[in-house]
Amino acid sequence: MEAVDWENSSGVSSDTEEYLQDTKYEDDEELHFTSGFISKLQFRKDKSRAHWINEMGMAEVVENKGKLWRTMGVVRSGKIYYSIEETLFLMEIGALLLLDDNGTSLSLNDIYAKVSGGSWELFEVYRHLKSLGYIVGRHGIAWSIKGAKSNCQSVSLQCSPQSSEVVNLESEDESSIVGSFNNMHINEARPVFDVYLPDSKFRKSSPGDPSFVICLTRGDLPSIADIEVLERQCGAIPLRFCHVEYGRVSFFSFNEEELPILP
């Protein structure tokens, strides 16, 4: 098995200078780190199998192999469903065999074709963070819900375990997140992903609070007003604003920080 340098595929070049260990220079992102802890994800030999459900825009897992599923996919009535970005990710590293309704296997080409609107940028962000070992989930979508209806066409997604309201998975997930992303006014920023630090003890049943919430804007920079709204929404969880262009993913924080009064 060959190790794959995911730094290259995420757009960060590897021919860089030494990482300066004792000073944190806010420098070119291409400096340092490639000599550091590169997550070398290997192509998988054992593939999990999943069934792509067009109406949902998600893949329902049929057979699981390996350990990736522990930090990927949402659980609904005992089944695991992968979002488009998770599916793409697994397909790219060869860890997933995807089948359509007729049982024919889908190629990478087929699944790339299913990426709509703003989903490609979402995927690039997902891939960048996932390759670094972070645990990434869609913001506002529960990792696991028990006791919901088992009908795959109307699996509840947003409701709490106590509520009996059933929401169609498709309308809740694909359309609402990606669709409203496309309908956003220019410069409106939205939270898109919850990010957790790499953790072998991560459990979908009790994920805890994310370490960061990633926000994406439709066009240019978020306005301060937007940032304030999002900060109120996300409470104490730090925000990171993300910009994707030409295959480069960069993140910024816009934290309120009061300078100390000096003596």
Partner: protein
Amino acid sequence: MEPRWKGKGFKAKALAEPMSKIVSQLQSSLIQSDAHGLLTGCTVLIAVKPEQTDLLDRACFGKRIVTAEKDNDWFQLGLEEAFYLCFSLKCLKVVGDDKCPKNDVELWQCMISRKPNFPDFYKAYSHLRMKNWVVKSGLNYGVDFVAYRHHPSLVHSEYAVLVLSEGEDEGNGRLRLWSDLHCTTRVSGSVVKTLLVLRITKNGNDVASPSCLEKYTVVERTIRKWHPEQCREDNMTGENRTKQQEALGKASLKTKFTQKHDVKLKPGLVGIERGIGLVSISLVFALISFIVSRWFWSN
């Protein structure tokens, strides 16, 4: 980011003589000498005695002009600096062409006529100065101001400051495009400063007089590039870090050749498979050495 002191003992030196004390000494000295400055263009020129030169230098106000004059030293002050000494510290009087000292409102309006953004810029300047930070022009770094924790000879500046007026973040402003942000953080970052954005809100007050200044609000935000690679490392526990460092050590020794022979081991069969793995790797090395030595000898 921790302040970067320029030498050993500088931090202690700064603590021993805080900026607030130096500024206070400057203030007393200028009041005593009834200091007057001349407003010309966007500069205020001031003639001072040698002991005041020293205080102006140490408090980081203005820039010394070298002249042949023996009795006086000349300094030039920026608009914000001059107004701060005049309005906030009340230790300087500024005269115009008519040689008459201007009152606060007159001076304020003069400043605005020279620099329409003056109210916001002054609010930002005075906000930081009142917290005892040293504030100088940020032109060298493509920003409005740079803020130092103490005298620039003792410490590197920590913050590259941008002043954002109301409505400026809504589309016509300073940081509008992503490339603006990349540019400013990159420039700041390469000189190890954090980008500090001061958002000034006038709260419906006008700019007729400087008394409206106290009703303006300032919100400080730092804009930093986030490196998920770095963050992940910072958050690793000691045990994980050691494991990763071992892996790194092994990884750096790997050649393209040995990568092909990396065997993914299943936990249950470690013993046997590791043995087989080691044997096969040593055989491979032996083969390489054999081939290399043959090549070497044939040359």
